[in-house]
């Protein structure tokens, strides 16, 4: 599914949504709503990136929040020390450096072993932050130098980056990379013997994933104000990402983007209105979605006997 394969039935509602979101600030929305919408967009982008690079390839990276948090730290560290333009540029190679650690298991492990190994990465960030407080700010984290103070400007930046990420993913969906990732998911050994340089594909997808996550985290850290180890907490972010990608076509980017936005909204609602049931609702919803997929035999959910 690439740009050419997207039906008008899918493209038109998406275009309508994005146009509507562009004019929302003109309706006099509060700073809170603009902040919330910014986070919705950015989380949607993070989920669609995860969906494309990991769900599509079958490599269930349970350490995704390590990449998210280390990107946030990269941005905060460079902004603390460098002029703005240079800092933004430098953040990308710095976050690549961090994420090399999570690339290695991808090259050596497969299946459940890969997932188990990656789950540990987010939990290494807190001890590292404590051991090197002059770099990571210790338990407090690093205050992110504000680049934009107006919630409206931050919102438009978030919208622009989310549209950019989504557009890039749509383009990638029509490329051979997307096909190769799907082939790796189906049968990696066969893909290798078919002439697909599996290692090269993995490295390329990992690099692209990290760069896109770093781009998303630029406005994200502006909104949150602080880069801290709490961003690495895999629960329930991971479960939300898995839920969002399962809502319709896993690996499709579009639906996971919208799903991610919806789930973040739901999370925000539950934190305010029913915090004591948040985990129960989230996990039940996840089980319901996947059970419905299996029972109704929705595309992409095959239980191979």
């Amino acid at each position: 599914m690439g740009l050419k394969e997207i039906s008008y039935g899918e493209l038109i509602p998406l275009a309508v949504i994005l146009i509507a979101m562009s004019v929302l600030p003109m309706l006099g929305l509060s700073s809170y709503m603009l902040t919330l919408l910014s986070l919705l967009l950015l989380f949607g982008a993070l989920v669609s990136i995860y969906d494309f690079f990991y769900i599509r390839s079958g490599y269930i990276n349970l350490g995704y929040t390590f990449i998210v948090a280390s990107s946030a730290f990269s941005i905060a560290i460079t902004l603390e020390r460098l002029p703005t333009a240079l800092a933004i540029l430098a953040a990308f190679p710095l976050s690549m450096l961090f994420s090399i650690a999570i690339l290695v298991p991808m090259l050596k492990l497969r299946g459940p072993f890969y997932s188990v190994a990656t789950l540990l990465y987010p939990f290494t960030l807190a001890p590292i932050a404590r051991l090197f407080p002059e770099v990571f700010g210790g338990d407090v984290g690093i205050y992110v130098r504000p680049l934009l103070s107006s919630p409206t400007h931050l919102y438009y930046l978030s919208l622009a980056i989310s549209i950019g990420v989504l557009s890039l993913l749509f383009i990638l969906l029509g490329t051979r990379l997307a096909i190769k990732l799907a082939m790796i998911k189906d049968d990696e050994t066969l893909a290798e013997s078919s002439g697909i340089g599996v290692v090269r594909v993995k490295i390329l997808s990992h690099v692209m994933c990290t760069l896109m996550v770093t781009a998303v985290m630029i406005p994200y850290t502006q909104v949150s104000g602080v880069a801290s180890v709490e961003l690495a907490d895999p629960m329930p972010v991971l479960i939300y990402a898995l839920m969002a990608s399962a809502l319709y076509k896993p690996g499709s980017a579009l639906y996971s983007f919208l799903g991610g936005m919806g789930i973040w909204w739901l999370d925000n609602f539950m934190r305010a209105a029913m915090y004591d049931l948040r985990l129960v609702v989230a996990s039940s919803l996840l089980l319901t979605i996947y059970a419905a997929r299996v029972v109704l035999g929705v595309a992409g959910t095959k239980i191979r006997k």
Binding site: I60, G111, P112, L119, T124, V294
Partner: protein
């Protein structure tokens, strides 16, 4: 050690990543803490273990259905773990609870430590004998090695998998009852136990029960020796360095058997 072996058993034999394992561990403790209010420990503890095995068997049934789809099995196990945590939070709240099973000392050593040590050693011994001397153990090893070949040889893979799950749940229950009185628990602590298990499993070898045994020794002794002989902060870097080194250099673990499950 016990928990890591249980986790590795399920991963190796059934190819199931049970991320609800941490939640299973603390569930036993919560059940025991409730029952201990009404019945004596000698009755409450076996009932807690039994209930945990029943929950383990149900969990196996669910995960077995999804095991061929990695995404589904991981998602379901995470969802179950969060569901357990959420329910425990709702019922018991966020407060720490402590389990008192064996207060007092025996010859200057905490009775609880003695129980923990005896139950762990007995379980490990039983596990070793089972794996090396019984047909069940041999079948598990065969399935872990090559599931398809084991099936062709007439081994009932489904039953073998279920047994591995039940044994893992049993280990989780025993570990829970042994160590909870020493730790105190709260609903979120299951993830902490899971990370310890994962650290031991990754260093020792994914899918390798003996690797889990060795790595838990390595990590414990290294830490203790470093605490005495090496000054801080260098000593605090050692366990983290071992873990990160293994993840980078040999992510299948020291005793792991290379890339698995293509």
């Amino acid at each position: 050690m016990l928990m890591a072996i249980g986790f590795n058993l399920v991963l190796g034999v059934s190819r199931i990543v049970n991320l609800a394992y941490g939640a299973q561990i603390i569930l036993t403790s919560y059940i025991a803490s409730t029952l201990l209010n009404f019945i004596p420990a000698v009755v409450a503890l076996p009932i807690s273990v039994l209930l945990s095995l029943v929950i383990g068997a149900i969990l196996w049934l669910v995960l077995w259905i999804f095991r061929k789809d990695l995404i589904l099995s991981i998602v379901v196990s995470i969802a179950v773990a969060l569901l357990i945590e959420g329910v425990l939070l709702k019922i018991y709240g966020a407060r720490l609870i402590s389990l008192v099973i064996a207060p007092g000392d025996i010859m200057g050593i905490s009775a609880q430590w003695i129980i923990a040590a005896i139950s762990s050693i007995a379980s490990l011994l039983a596990f070793y004998l089972m794996m090396s001397r019984t047909m069940i153990g041999k079948r598990m090893a065969a399935v872990a090695e090559n599931e398809d070949l084991a099936r062709y040889m007439g081994i009932n893979v489904r039953v073998t998998s279920m047994l591995s799950f039940i044994i893992a749940s049993l280990f989780a229950s025993i570990a829970s009852i042994a160590i909870t009185p020493l730790y105190a628990i709260y609903p979120h602590v299951g993830w902490y136990y899971l990370t310890i298990v994962l650290a031991v499993v990754i260093v020792g070898g994914l899918g390798s029960a003996m690797g889990a045994l060795a790595s838990s020794m390595i990590l414990s002794f290294t830490q203790s020796l470093a605490a005495y002989y090496i000054g801080s902060p260098a000593k605090d870097l050692i366990p983290l360095t071992i873990l990160i080194s293994v993840l980078l250099l040999r992510p299948e673990g020291i005793f792991g058997r290379g890339v698995r499950w293509a």
